[in-house]
């Protein structure tokens, strides 16, 4: 859940479309040229159909039913909301959290990118693997995992309390705890996208600076960071959105003093009479995003970016110049590594431990058991939810990436009024929470709709897949546009001069260049969809139960005291699936580089 942002035209390399632009004159006749190209027409028709059918119609239906149930517009939601101190405070907390994370995640994320990609560190691969754990471990179990370690009765708290009994057991809660946990949990985008931007920096310019006597620090400050600025800005926006939509970490660790707005939105969207407040809060969050983006744009404006070399010599790890510099960086890097890896190891441990022992805060050897694994793996059809979710997520994430390759290519090639409109529309899923999008789909497609050939989609296995494609559109579009912006025009011109058609150019020239981004986005989409609950709850077909629902089922129930351990079993299983996907995309590359 997050919010929309202004659609600006990328002009800088590696621009995720969120970099600030000086006011540009829009090239004239772009729309006309777009409509003269067969590819352009195809993309426009396809996108307009999809947007009208799946983005506009369901959400209009829903908002209509929400704000004007009897055909008459009622804005009592505004009144009810403004009189609530709690809601406004939560809204403020969400914005504060987003702003704080924008700083902290960048500090940690850039540090991680530098120690894994820039400096010559010992066991760099192991470091990378440790930091990459954010890719496979997230959501509610991450938050509860942290709570079981550092919370009121967590291991670490217990251990410290043994030595120093008068300590404050609630030390790890509230704003500070939420910021820490979310900082360590959301560096994935830095890992994937900032690292690849770093790898594109021209080695020769760094050599040149070195020859002129620049220190490591100067090179970092004057060459590396300015070159990375567009991508840093892009991932900062993603961090912002994560902070605004923060759900589980505040819920588990925020305590009474730091609750955010997302849990409220979720709970209001589940009650028919309060749904207008949920929609209103979501829209307010959207507005907050737009305001913050405008401020960031202003701050960022006026930066000149270092050109990334077209014929880049591959970047080589930089050796430390001083011994103490090396020591400090190694100590920091490995301390951070421990912070990242510890919760993952604990999750594995918890999955083998008795729930009571975990919740009681001390695990002895007697408490270890494989009972939970047996429960999960021996239940009838234990495997089927995994297969269903893997299939849905894989298909949806591939479809959305392939579809948007053409769309974002068209949007970057022909920058006219029409493409701006299309881009705005494609951001609708960022404004509304998934659960409302799903409800809109059910309410729209429970009858034949001529836009989908008179079919009734609700109650079929297709509709959940459509929902998954929808919710992943904005994120995918953003990053693909950034990747396209980094493709040098000369390559395409050369291909065209040699007689290649539009599609051939895309297939043979453009796609190979943006393939790493495509793969990374596909993998990220996949991992975020595989344990989805919010969309599935309204849309899943009875015969194809997805994983998110199965996990809920396994962990609910009045008499289920082992629920927490079972959640951790699923977490570890999910880690295996997601780790496998990560390996597919990056693993063999690591091995090759090592060899």
């Amino acid at each position: 859940m997050s919010a929309a942002q202004s659609a600006t035209e990328p002009r800088t390399p590696a621009d995720a479309g969120m970099t600030p632009q000086q006011p540009v004159r829009r090239p004239r006749g772009a729309t006309a040229r777009m409509l003269r190209s067969p590819l352009g027409i195809g993309v426009v028709i396809g996108t307009l159909w999809f947007s009208a059918t799946f983005l506009v119609m369901p959400n209009v239906t829903l908002l209509q039913a929400t704000f004007a149930p009897d055909g008459e517009l009622s804005l009592s939601a505004v009144e009810r909301l403004l009189s609530s101190e709690r809601a406004l405070r939560s809204l403020g907390n969400s914005v504060a959290l987003a702003a704080t994370l924008a700083v902290t995640v960048n500090v940690v994320g850039i540090f991680i990118v530098l120690v894994t990609g820039w400096f010559k560190m010992r066991a760099r691969r192991v470091l990378w693997l440790g930091y990459a754990t954010t890719f496979i471990y997230g959501g509610i179990v991450l938050a509860t995992g942290y709570a079981f370690i550092y919370g009121r009765y967590g291991f670490v708290t217990n251990a410290v309390a043994n030595v120093w009994p008068e300590m404050d057991r609630d030390w790890f809660s509230g704003f500070m705890a939420v910021v820490l946990v979310m900082t360590f949990a959301t560096t994935t985008n830095h890992m994937l996208f900032l690292s690849s931007a770093l790898a594109k920096i021209d080695h020769q310019s760094i050599e040149a600076a070195r020859l002129m006597g620049a220190s490591n620090w100067t090179i970092l400050r004057r060459i590396v960071l300015p070159t990375l600025r567009p991508m840093i800005f892009a991932v900062t926006v993603l961090v912002f959105l994560t902070g605004l939509g923060a759900l589980t970490a505040p819920l588990v660790l925020g305590g009474q003093d730091f609750q955010t707005v997302a849990p409220m939105i979720l709970s209001f969207s589940r009650t028919a009479t309060s749904r207008d407040i949920a929609a209103l809060l979501a829209i307010l969050l959207g507005l907050a995003t737009i305001v913050l983006l405008a401020i960031l744009n202003r701050v960022e404006r006026g930066g000149t970016y270092f050109a990334v070399a077209k014929v880049a010599s591959p970047l080589e790890p930089q050796a430390f110049r001083t011994r103490w510099g090396s020591i400090v960086m190694h100590v920091l890097a490995w301390a951070l590594w421990a912070v990242y890896v510890f919760p993952v190891l604990c999750a594995v441990l918890f999955s083998f431990a008795d729930a009571r022992a975990v919740q009681g805060g001390s695990i002895g050897l007697d408490d270890l058991t494989i009972e939970h694994w047996a429960t999960v793996l021996t239940q009838p059809d234990a495997l089927s939810p995994f297969l269903v979710s893997v299939a849905y997520s894989a298909i949806a994430s591939v479809v959305v990436v392939l579809g948007l390759v053409l769309v974002s290519r068209a949007l970057t090639t022909w920058r006219g009024r029409l493409s701006s409109v299309i881009e705005y529309v494609l951001h609708i899923p960022w404004i509304l929470p998934t659960i409302l999008i799903a409800l809109g789909l059910v309410m729209t497609f429970d009858r034949p709709q001529w836009l989908v050939g008179g079919q009734v989609l609700q109650g079929t296995i297709v509709i959940l897949g459509i929902a998954y494609v929808i919710v992943k559109i904005p994120f995918t579009l953003r990053l693909l546009k950034a990747a396209f912006a980094a493709v040098p025009d000369e390559f395409e011109d050369a291909a065209r001069i040699l007689g290649a058609g539009q599609l051939t150019t895309i297939r043979r020239v453009v796609i190979p260049i943006i393939a790493p981004t495509m793969a990374a986005v596909t993998a990220l989409n996949f991992t975020s969809l595989v344990d989805d609950y919010d969309a599935a709850v309204f849309l899943y077909h009875p015969l194809a139960e997805p994983l998110g629902i199965a996990i809920r089922r396994a962990t609910e129930g009045d008499a289920n005291v082992q629920a927490m351990s079972i959640t951790f079993v699923y977490t570890v299983l999910l880690m295996l699936v997601q780790g496998f996907v990560l390996w597919l995309v990056y693993g063999r590359g690591l091995r090759r580089r090592r060899g």
């Binding site: 709570a147 589940r270 028919a272 919740q359 990436v401 409800l439 009734v456 194809a544 809920r552 005291v561």
Partner: protein, 351 residues
């Protein structure tokens, strides 16, 4: 560089292929949409946890019913059925409480049917007016403590919700869920007039309840918090008591409540517009019968409403349920206003 690109492409393609292949396996025979009359009976429920779903599927199969269970939380399930009202996917729904069934009735999402066992259950436990839904299992929503740890419990629940016990009892703030909603309904209902207007006194009671309570901790069971000494009292549906006593070695006792406690009565009904109405009715006749309910009660420590099934129920449970007074709550009224009440609490009274 080039090698890494083709690798990434191949990985993407591999993922896509794997997905398509898996989809093929997963959806084999999966196109049974809402419309057709053949295929298994789709049973919607929020009561399939703790192995109940598997047990039911198995028992049903032995008796000639091919069923498929769709299990979701109470509020989500109700929303889903209401959203699907124009093109229902499910055939039967059971396990939801009276309040949720009142919502389904108001949205015309269920259709009345009188099962063969209708005279074995007390009429007022279900829907005496229209007979749209029928009772299966009873649960009391009680305030519990561990008698091993607490020696001087309050004489009445109302004493608990004061500053004397500040921070000593757990309050569940997840008001989208059924049990916390019932707790709130239990507090507010006595103060509501027939238009659902709650007096200031009622809101003060709710305010005191939440202000002095310790909010539930996501991921931590109430009894785990008992064990840690974090809180001493908390609310629990009676169905969870036996399993917890066995697990935590506690001796659960109930704080008395002079006004009576809210009861959850899990109901069953036919979803309106189903193509398999006859099968749905046969399933209800079978599932609600004294024999099946008795077996269910025995297996899962439930308290059956069907009088013929009581003999098979765990005597401990029967005794426990008999020991508490049933609060007199007008569920039709509560159903109509609970949304607004919960909203006001979320906006103004939650900590």
């Amino acid at each position: 560089m080039q090698a890494s690109k083709t690798r990434a492409l191949r990985a993407t393609a591999g993922l896509a292929l794997a997905g398509v292949a898996l989809a093929g396996c997963a959806s084999g025979g999966g196109d049974a949409g809402g419309g057709d009359a053949s295929g298994p009976l789709i049973v919607y429920t929020n009561s399939n946890g703790d192995g109940r779903g598997e047990w039911l599927t198995e028992q049903a199969a032995e008796n000639g019913f091919e069923i498929d269970i769709v299990g979701l939380g109470g509020a989500d399930l109700t929303n889903r059925i209401v959203a699907e009202v124009n093109n229902p996917v499910g055939d039967v729904v059971f396990g939801l409480n009276t309040m949720f069934f009142e919502t389904l009735k108001a949205e015309d999402a269920i259709t009345a049917y009188e099962p063969t066992w209708s005279d074995e259950v007390p009429q007022d436990a279900g829907d005496p007016v229209d007979g749209a839904y029928w009772p299966l299992v009873d649960q009391a929503i009680v305030t519990v403590y561990d008698a091993n740890a607490v020696t001087d419990p309050p004489a009445d629940v109302s004493e608990l919700w004061t500053s004397d016990y500040e921070g000593q009892y757990e309050v569940n703030t997840a008001l989208g869920e059924a049990t916390p909603q019932l707790v709130v309904a239990g507090i507010l209902a006595p103060y509501a007039d027939e238009d659902g207007e709650v007096s200031d006194e009622g809101w003060e009671a709710v305010d005191a309840y939440f202000a002095n309570g310790s909010p539930a901790v996501e991921g931590s069971d109430l009894y785990a918090r008992f064990e840690q000494g974090d809180v001493s009292y908390g609310v629990l549906p009676s169905g969870g008591i036996i399993a917890r006593d066995a697990e935590y070695g506690t001796d659960t006792a109930i704080v008395p409540n002079a006004d009576g406690v809210p009861f959850v009565t899990e109901q069953i009904g036919v979803i309106a517009g189903t193509q398999r109405e006859e099968q749905a009715q046969e399933f209800i006749d079978w599932f609600g019968s004294a024999e099946v309910q008795g077996a269910f009660a025995q297996e899962f420590n439930a308290m059956p409403v069907n009088e013929g099934a009581l003999a098979q129920a765990n005597p401990e449970i029967v005794e426990l349920i008999d020991s508490v007074e049933r609060a007199d709550i007008d569920y039709a009224l509560v159903r109509e206003h609970i949304g607004a009440w919960v909203e006001r609490i979320e906006l103004e009274y939650l900590p």
